[in-house]
Amino acid sequence: MPKIGVYVCHCGENIAGAVNIEEVMNYAKTLPDVVLVKNYLFMCSDPGQDIIKQDIKEGKVDRVVVAACTPRTHEPIFRDALESAGLNRYFLEMANIRDQDSWAHWHDKSGATEKAKRLIRSAVAKVTFAEPLEDRYGDMEKSVMVIGGGVAGMFAALDLANMGLKVYLVERQPSIGGMMIKLDKTFPTMDCSACILTPKMVEVAQHPNIELINYAEVDAVKGYVGNFEITVKKKARYIDWDKCTGCGVCTQICPARVPNEYNYNMDQRRAAYIEFPQAVPKKAVIDRPNCLYFKSMEKTGKPACQICEKGIPPKGIQGCPADAIKFDDKDEYINLKVGSVIITTGYKVMDKSHFKEYSPHSKDVVTAMEFERILSATGPTEGELKRPSDGTKPKTIAMISCVGSRDERYHSYCSKVCCMYMLKHARILKEKYPDIKLYLFFIDVRTAGKDFEEFYVYTRELGVKVIRGGRVSSVDVKPNGKLRVRGFDVDLCSPVELEADMVVLATAIEPATGTEELGRLFAATCGREGFLREVHTKLYPVETASKGVFLAGCVQGPKDIPESIAQSRAAASAAAALVIPGKIKFEAIIAEVDREKCSSCGVCVPLCPYGAIKLQEYKGKEKAYIEPALCAGCGVCASACPSMAITFHGFTTEQILAQIDALAEA
């Protein structure tokens, strides 16, 4: 038989002013299993808590009901009091007779008093069925994996490494840097992108706590928060990176030329290549499908080319001076243990080929990302503005916004950065070539952001034509090679038609290829549009559905660099707060399956929003099992199990039914 003690708080006058304490106490004494009832002016004060502790220590009570304010603020305080007196901290229930009683019914003293009695009756009923629960602690691996080495991933890695944590930064490409390194200048400050990013790339590579794993992808994931076991696949490079000095000899003598994806195929690279001049690490790789050695080996079994390795001796051309070529290189799989993960795999831009109405076959119609490369000093034209079709200098350029964004046929969302980078492109061009004619077609101009509106006003003042209206209806190639652009101007309320030498399409930002698959490996879910989803837009913006897995940057949705960095540093601090203590607390208020009762129906498995439930073999049958580390304590499974096999600790069915009975009865 439990021995329940009821402690009624006056909260000064806050409760006692509306509730007749004595009447309530006399009533509480009549409740089943209640062995003593006491009151105090402020139960939460030290002397108040001492009253409870004393009774526990003397063995008078072994279950406690505190009738006072709200458990939301005070439950932890009284739980600690129980624990310090040697009683299980979950043998406590609070009756909220202040916030939900005396305050709300201040002018109805007898109503408030009667309600207080019933609330206490409900708490007593619930505590009668309380079970002793233990918060559990698991070991936490003190390391973090950051996946994606764009600007977001780099900042997260640096912050974590500076806090003394071991960081593995996994990047799919040969070099880190992501999309930002491809940009020419960046709004709103117009810094040169490479100039501000390359020093950070070097810092990442040289940091003693960061292990850079390039040209690699996550292959498999086991475990959960605190103890993820991750298999990373390092793709074969066919060049020994321990020996490669980045001299670039192979990238010059390799005879196999292929379109250069880094510049969106606007120029060529070799099969042996360094991704871009400022690559970090500056190491070469061989692109196997295009390499003549591998092609010939597959066909004839004899090597047709080994120029990168051996050079062309008759011509006096030397091969790799570092002896780094390694045709027998293999994919390598490495296993890493980390406590937490941050996903920062960024975005890709839509290809122009989707938009038949804009003449994608014309070389002079380019995407905005391609245009960034054209403007960039490291791009295919070394920063010189040239028409891709004939190399002449364009006199008129039209830019079209929202291509694939805010369009039911493709993506309903706004890609957020396009309005600003279109203005940026206009500004770069106008400042360099004041005579150039620029027509910017917008649905409407969205420049909400710090210093953005000023940027817009300044750019317009440079003489850029902004045309607001619906969508541009078509871009056609005229017989003279020029492009005819047709749209509508809402301000003039008339159709517009103009001739341009080049057209730039602000194509939509999309999640990087493989985002959904990567998310699935970690049980982190994506939204409808395929971006990784945060747990709660407002309260948990960097947490994913999977505990211990965080996100930052464009993998969560389109955003600019300042926002990506802010989010990545937030994710780093959230991950650090989790990892640094070295232990992880698993709440006792979670669900548990009684496998004897489980009928193996599997109903609960897909219900859990955290993927905590799986069917596991138990006594020769598949039975549900809830992984305590993953359960977040929502209770959904317990209320759905048709066999009543799931107990939701802290809010058991038995406890809630007892409360209902206590409240419903006369």
């Binding site: 709200t70 458990p71 939301r72 909220n96 202040r98 916030d99 939900q100 009683d101 305050w103 709300a104 019914h105 201040w106 002018h107 109805d108 109503g111 408030a112 009667e114 309600k115 019933r118 609330l119 409900s122 747990v535 709660h536 837009t537 407002k538 309260l539 559905a545 208020i589 219900l607 929003p609 955290y610 977040a632 304590g633 929502c634 209770g635 959904v636 317990a638 209320s639 759905a640 939701f648 802290g650 809010f651 069915t653 809630i656 039914l657 409360q659 209902i660 009975d661 409240l663 419903a664 009865e665 006369a666």
Partner: protein, 139 residues
């Protein structure tokens, strides 16, 4: 003595329960016929809770959860609303008016709305009269 309704509110701890606390601290009043049972999420509510409450004579049951998109556990409130139809049917099967079961999203910042919703709920149940299964609790 005159009949007074006995109302049970099953409130999500992240929203409606907080909304009730806020109503109190702002001193918005509502009838003391309302009694809250705290649950972790509106998705925790079982059909059995509703059946038990009605059978034991509660005159009305109100489920309070977070607005869509705000559920602390992502989609517990969607699960609650799906079950809500079942709850209503369950009431009908027991011979109780389905309007005695109500569900609403009230956030932790909506103290005023909580008080209003409770006042409306109380008035509605008074109109319906005592739970036919028990004739209400005579206070």
């Amino acid at each position: 003595m005159a009949w007074e309704p006995r109302l049970i509110v099953i409130a999500c701890q992240w929203c409606t329960y907080q909304g009730a606390d806020l109503a109190g601290s702002l001193r918005y009043s509502y009838p003391p016929t309302v009694h809250i049972i705290r649950v972790p999420c509106s998705g925790r509510v079982e059909p059995e809770f509703i059946a038990e409450a009605l059978k034991k004579g509660a005159d009305g049951v109100f489920i309070g959860g977070c607005h869509f998109g705000d559920c602390h556990y992502k989609e517990g409130n969607y699960k609650a609303i799906r079950r809500f139809k079942l709850f209503k049917r369950l009431a009908t099967d027991l011979g109780v008016e389905p309007e005695r079961i109500q569900l609403e999203w009230i956030s932790g910042s909506e103290g005023k709305r909580f008080a209003e919703a409770m006042t409306e709920f109380d008035a509605k149940i008074r109109e319906l009269g005592p739970n036919p299964l028990k004739g209400g609790a005579n206070v």
